[in-house]
């Protein structure tokens, strides 16, 4: 606290159960709930308030899959009809054979592990997330691919937008300064590969820890220069 720099202004933090507005004047966003006509916070998180909209971005918590999320998964099991992936969530993701491979696969002759094997890192998309934790993944999007080599690190899923920055400004900064390739999954897994991996990881970890501070981009630029 003592050696706090001037540019390190802390964003407003809300606490579960804290009254953050009235539903007569605000629309509610993520991380809030309504009781009567009052809006309360659900999380310990950064309070975001505009003129007619209020939401809370949690500072911790596990990943809950939503359709169209771009995530990183690690293949845990290769079945005959598809693959089971660890997607850093309470549930496992399932990538079916037809969603994973474009061509016709004759299972009598070809072993599905030739496409994805246990331990492979996959950049994929959530196709469907049904109630009951049934999560279907798909590779049939232009951005999906298998990631070769590199390392995976974990960050808090709710802080992913901060790591990416406005139109990718933050992650591009790290990529440029360290000469690495970075893929950020919305489930909080980040894949890093390239020259200066250690430095990039240090920067990513710092964003994870200090996401509630203003002027973070400058801090990161300073760290990397």
């Amino acid at each position: 606290m003592e050696n706090k720099k001037n540019n390190e202004k802390v964003r407003e933090i809300s606490i579960p159960g804290e009254l953050i507005g009235s539903s007569k004047t605000f629309k509610t966003g993520y991380g809030t709930y309504i009781e009567g006509d009052k809006i309360f916070s659900k999380f310990v998180g950064v309070l975001q308030k505009s003129e007619e909209y209020v939401s809370v971005i949690p500072l911790s918590g596990v990943y809950v899959p939503q359709p169209n999320d771009k995530i990183i998964g690690v293949v845990e099991e290769a079945e005959k009809f598809g693959w089971i992936l660890n997607i850093n969530s309470a549930w496992q993701g399932f990538l079916s054979l037809s969603e994973g491979v474009d061509e016709y696969v004759d299972l009598k002759r070809i072993n599905p592990t030739r496409y994805f094997d246990v331990g492979d890192i996959v950049y994929t998309e959530v196709k469907e997330s049904r109630r009951g934790g049934d999560i279907q993944l798909t590779m049939k999007t232009p951005i999906a691919r298998k990631l070769k080599g590199g390392v995976i690190i974990k960050i808090t899923p709710s802080k992913v937008p901060r790591l990416i920055g406005k139109q990718g400004s933050m992650v591009n900064l790290i990529k440029e300064k360290t000469g690495t390739i970075i893929r950020v999954g919305q489930n909080g897994l980040v894949w890093v590969s390239g020259e200066n991996v250690d430095k990039a990881i240090k920067a990513i970890k710092m964003i994870d820890e200090k996401s509630h501070i203003y002027g973070l981009t400058d801090e990161i630029a300073k760290l990397l220069s």
């Binding site: 606290m1 802390v10 933090i13 606490i15 579960p16 159960g17 804290e18 009254l19 991380g31 709930y33 309360f40 659900k42 999380f43 310990v44 949690p58 500072l59 911790s60 918590g61 596990v62 809950v64 309470a90 549930w91 496992q92 109630r131 009951g132 934790g133 808090t156 709710s158 509630h212």
Partner: protein
């Protein structure tokens, strides 16, 4: 109730020099166990509880899974060195009971509808026991759950009240707990004014009971302030 000749209150002061309505020194900290999703350490005087929260995470065995919502599993355990005589390890009748009532005190504040087939695991370890351990455990669990980012309606505040030498007191220490005429552990939601745990051991008149509940609700605000301050402090350093 055990009997003792020792006076619990002398000249308006209690054994440790507190006035009847005073609480012991409260210390709270979150993020003490980096491996866990959320953690906290809370002490009321000598009574110290450390809590780790994991989850929501997948739940096994499968027959425990709920298809419509997540569940909470709560384990209260006293360390062998937490009391004067070595406490035999393993769950006793008392610990099983406290695990259950503490779980019921915490359960109403959690939104687990979006987490089907999962569990939130809360592990409470009492490092040092000197009375009021169950409310200390509830305070610590509430902080750790908030730290873990589990969606919550409110925080939970726990505080014990009681009666010794015909005086109504708050936050009983170990000796007062043993020789009191009655003790009343209570947990409530400070922003909703809902009571989630209310137990009593001993004898009280209806008026005394009402008065103790009022005293606890009043003094609990101080604990709530401390909880809020602790959670915010983690992100202000």
């Amino acid at each position: 109730m055990m009997k003792t000749d020792e006076k619990m209150i002398v000249k308006g002061k209690r054994l440790d020099g507190r006035k009847p309505d005073d609480l012991r020194k409260i210390e709270m900290e979150v993020g003490v166990i980096p491996n866990a999703d959320g953690s906290s350490k809370v002490s009321f005087g000598k009574t110290t509880a450390i809590v780790a929260v994991y989850g929501p995470r997948s739940l096994f065995p499968r027959h425990l899974q709920e298809s419509e919502s997540g569940i909470i599993q709560f384990k209260y355990d006293m360390a062998t060195f937490s009391v004067d005589d070595r406490k035999r390890p393993g769950p006793s009748r008392r610990e099983t009971e406290i695990s259950k009532v503490a779980r019921l005190a915490i359960e109403p504040v959690l939104f687990l509808k979006n987490y089907p087939k999962t569990t939130v695991d809360v592990f409470v370890e009492i490092l040092q026991a000197d009375g009021s351990t169950r409310v200390t455990a509830i305070n610590a669990a509430s902080l750790a759950l908030a730290d873990a980012g589990v969606p919550m309606r409110d925080l939970v505040v726990g505080l014990s009240g009681g009666k010794v030498d015909d005086t109504l007191i708050l936050d009983l220490c170990g000796k007062e707990d043993n020789y009191s005429d009655a003790d009343v552990p209570m947990a409530f939601l400070p922003n909703k004014n809902e009571i989630t745990l209310l137990q009593m051991d001993g004898r009280l008149t209806p008026e005394e009971t009402k008065q103790i509940i009022r005293n606890i609700l009043h003094a609990g605000k101080e604990i709530y302030k401390k909880q809020v301050e602790t959670l915010k402090r983690k992100y202000s350093e």
